[in-house]
């Protein structure tokens, strides 16, 4: 019996080491640039990182990223000037675009079409509208030089808060993450049942939840609270949204109050023959990103920035 247990331990450890090497060699584990809490009390990526973001089992998605000096994934630095025309797009992972090569981002697509415009993509995973509006307020000087600000949000996910506060982020199982093999296990869901049990003991990350039954009035109230707290310049701002997923009363409120919107919902709807999201993930694929970029380009063609 002792020999059996000893063999399991020794061979198990050796197999673990070889698997660790294989997982590292083939870069199978999910990989994203590191983040930190910046002085403006918002989360950003650590500037200067370059590499490949890897998602999904067996590297389903591999895309190059470049974190600029402002802490966002972009092909360009963000240096707004009084002379040039700059557009900022704020949003979550859909705008951050780690699922795509940063050379082929929504911003780049817009710049290719509107030659004279520089697009700054202030995207960060999990950013909701409160994060975005606070970011603008906290960096007033920078954003005052930017000619137009687009806030991207998903109605059901991004209106859960009435004001910004720092949400403590915890790395789930931080020690385990030193091993890329264990990271891979976590990422592919091999230990999902353990995570489920741990969540019952309030260990690990819990998703944001809405408990109230009347979500629509909650979202509208949150929105009202956000714009009154952080302010919005209707002449140089717009909200990027999918009208098909957004409550009609909410859209009515935006219209009645003269708040501009950029709606990519119809574009997505028309593209029923070819998918607009990645197969294994709900993020936009290249087709989806083209549609969103076209909606923005179309908006600026109709209302050129002065």
């Amino acid at each position: 019996m002792f020999r059996f247990i000893k063999n399991i331990v020794v061979k198990g450890f050796l197999i673990f080491l070889v698997l660790e090497i294989l997982v590292r060699f083939f870069h199978l584990y999910n990989d994203m640039p590191d983040w930190f809490l910046a002085d403006d009390k918002t989360y950003k990526r650590v500037p200067g990182q370059e590499g490949y973001a890897v998602f999904g089992n067996r590297k389903q998605n591999v895309s190059a990223y470049r974190i600029n000096q402002s802490g966002y994934n972009s092909f360009r630095e963000f240096n707004p000037t009084e002379e040039g025309i700059e557009v900022a797009i704020l949003g979550d992972s859909f705008i951050e675009g780690l699922h795509q090569d940063y050379h082929n981002s929504i911003g780049k697509k817009i710049e290719d079409e509107l030659k004279h415009v520089h697009v700054y993509e202030y995207g960060h995973s999990n950013f909701d509208l409160a994060d975005q509006m606070f970011l603008v307020q906290a960096n007033e000087e920078i954003f005052s030089k930017i000619d137009f600000i687009i806030f991207e949000f998903k109605y059901f996910d991004d209106l859960l808060r009435a004001e910004y506060s720092i949400e403590n982020r915890r790395v789930v199982f931080p020690l385990l993450r030193y091993s890329k093999l264990l990271t891979y296990f976590l990422d592919i869901g091999l230990v999902d049942s353990v995570k489920k049990v741990l969540r019952n003991f309030n260990i690990g990350q819990t998703p944001r939840k809405v408990d109230k039954t009347d979500k629509d009035s909650l979202f509208l109230n949150n929105f009202k609270s956000l714009i009154s707290k952080y302010g919005i310049d209707k002449t140089k701002s717009a909200f990027l949204l999918n009208s098909n997923d957004t409550n009609v009363e909410f859209l009515g409120f935006l219209k009645n109050n003269g708040i501009p919107i950029i709606d990519y919902g119809d574009g997505l709807k028309k593209s029923c023959d070819s998918p607009t999201t990645l197969i294994f993930d709900r993020h936009w694929n290249d087709n989806g990103r083209n549609i969103v970029a076209e909606a923005i380009i179309d908006f600026f063609k109709r209302k050129p920035i002065k």
Binding site: R3, F4, L19, Q60, F185, I188, L190, F280
Partner: protein
């Protein structure tokens, strides 16, 4: 509890340590612990159905003892029928009630009569077909005086509920399993390490082969109308590998787990896709079921010692019942009929006993090409018959065949979850090649002299398993539904 779940990976080491460190001194304690562990294992899925296992255990235990004591044939027959009615009664009610009720109504409406019938929302108890057949084999063997009944109730309860093979076999014979449970087990290094190797290999077959192919098979079979024939061919070939990986993987894990507990179960699969004809396929596929049907249905009906007409009838009957055993659907009966159709010509020409106990492709010689042709033909027949096995209904199967053969077209198939298809082709190619290499011993998938080579193979097997693991895939075993 699934073999491929994290719960089982906690459960098994716990059972192993308690079994060998705390209960090893007494046979009775060992068996009590096996019964508790087995009931916990089964109850993890649905504790309510433990009562069925308990009833079967009690009934067959006492019927066994009384069958042995009773000398009057009429009374013995009555006891046997008692066991058959109770066991098959449970099986019939839980598995076949709705099938018979629906078909009864349809048959009446065909003749212009309308009768009302109520479909019951019955949950099929996992593994009911397996443990029912296992307990039946005990009673029948005692009735035939081939086996002395046990007086050790706990040992018998452990035989009925033995968790490694409780829910999907191998369907053990009392003559093999019961004597092992009636002797105190002592730890055997070689046996235990062999068990671990089989578990590793079985997990690979389940996770990397079966589960990874499942989303594609589900997608193709659910969208027959939208796919070209090339994709439908791919779908049924993938299903052939899926069901083999799923079921033989389960059997390997079951046999391996039993070995860890010092128990040897019978082999259930012997590389069936290397069979050179259908008869050989059935000596290599789900062996515990096919031998069960041979011993308890085919031979009592007269076996092969009757007239040719009777033998053909017997074969047909066995295949139809075997099909129906798999599920309460005409598709399974059709599947059984197709196999009978290909088996009977072999029987008539006397070739059904060919390739008995021989290994396939043992070097390049005159018969190599012939053997390869035989393997290919058998694979094609078996694979095409899987359409019936996988289809929801006969209409679905007919539609599948129609599209596959009469709507010839080709289009590249993309994985529904966005994975690279080439990964799967490489995986299956390597799998077939490796199975060919190890084809002489189904109980030892790592039988190589070189220690480093064995280590590399263990590592690669585990690497393949985690590489193709997908938490989003339904991980239950196909044969659980039978």
């Amino acid at each position: 509890m699934l073999f491929n779940s994290l719960e089982f990976f906690v459960f098994l080491p716990l059972v192993f340590f308690i079994y060998w460190f705390l209960t090893f001194k007494s046979l009775r304690v060992q068996n009590v612990f096996i019964v508790i562990a087995s009931y916990l294992f089964y109850g993890w899925w649905d504790w309510r159905f433990l009562s069925l296992i308990a009833i079967s255990t009690v009934v067959d235990y006492y019927i066994g003892i009384n069958l042995y004591k009773e000398k009057r044939e009429s009374k013995r027959k009555l006891l046997l029928w008692g066991s058959l009615v109770i066991n098959i009664g449970f099986l019939g009610f839980f598995k076949y009630y709705n099938f018979f009720a629906e078909n009864f109504v349809q048959a009446f409406s065909f003749f212009g009569n309308t009768i009302s019938s109520r479909s019951l929302n019955i949950i099929l108890p996992v593994g009911i077909s397996f443990y029912t057949f296992q307990t039946l084999s005990y009673t029948i063997d005692v009735y035939r005086s081939k086996l002395e009944p046990t007086k050790d109730f706990i040992g018998f309860a452990a035989f009925v509920a033995f968790f490694p093979q409780l829910v999907a076999g191998p369907i053990e014979r009392a003559s093999n399993l019961l004597p092992q449970l009636q002797k105190r087990r002592t730890f055997n290094y070689k046996q235990a390490s062999g068990g671990l190797k089989l578990i590793t290999w079985g997990l690979f077959k389940k996770v990397a082969i079966a589960d990874s192919l499942a989303p594609m098979v589900d997608d193709i079979f659910s969208n027959v109308g939208t796919y070209p024939s090339s994709t439908l061919f791919l779908g049924v070939i993938f299903f052939g590998f899926q069901i083999y990986g799923d079921f033989s993987g389960y059997s390997d894990i079951a046999i391996g787990t039993s070995k860890l507990l010092g128990i040897e179960l019978m082999s259930n699969f012997k590389f069936p896709y290397f069979s050179r004809n259908i008869a050989e396929f059935w000596r290599r596929w789900h062996i515990s079921l096919s031998t069960w049907f041979r011993d308890y249905i085919y031979i009592p009906l007269g076996g092969s010692k009757s007239s040719l007409k009777t033998v053909i009838r017997n074969i047909l009957l066995v295949f139809l019942i075997s099909g129906f055993w798999h599920g309460a659907n005409w598709t399974f009966i059709a599947w059984g009929a197709i196999h009978a159709l290909f088996f009977i010509p072999l029987l008539i020409s006397g070739r059904n006993r060919k390739f008995l106990n021989s290994f396939v492709l043992m070097g390049l010689n005159k018969s190599t090409l012939k053997e390869m042709l035989g393997i290919l033909t058998t694979f094609v027949v078996v694979t095409l018959s899987w359409v019936f096995f996988r289809a929801e209904s006969l209409t679905h199967a007919a539609h599948y065949f129609k599209k596959m053969f009469f709507d010839m077209s080709f289009r590249v198939y993309n994985h529904p979850l966005g994975y690279r298809m080439v990964d799967y082709f490489i995986l299956l190619l390597l799998f077939v090649l490796y199975e060919y290499v190890i084809r002489k011993d189904e109980r030892n998938p790592y039988k190589f002299k070189s220690k480093p080579l064995r280590f590399i193979l263990y590592t690669l097997t585990i690497f393949g398993t985690i590489l193709f693991y997908d938490s989003g895939v339904d991980r239950s075993f196909i044969y659980f539904q039978f």
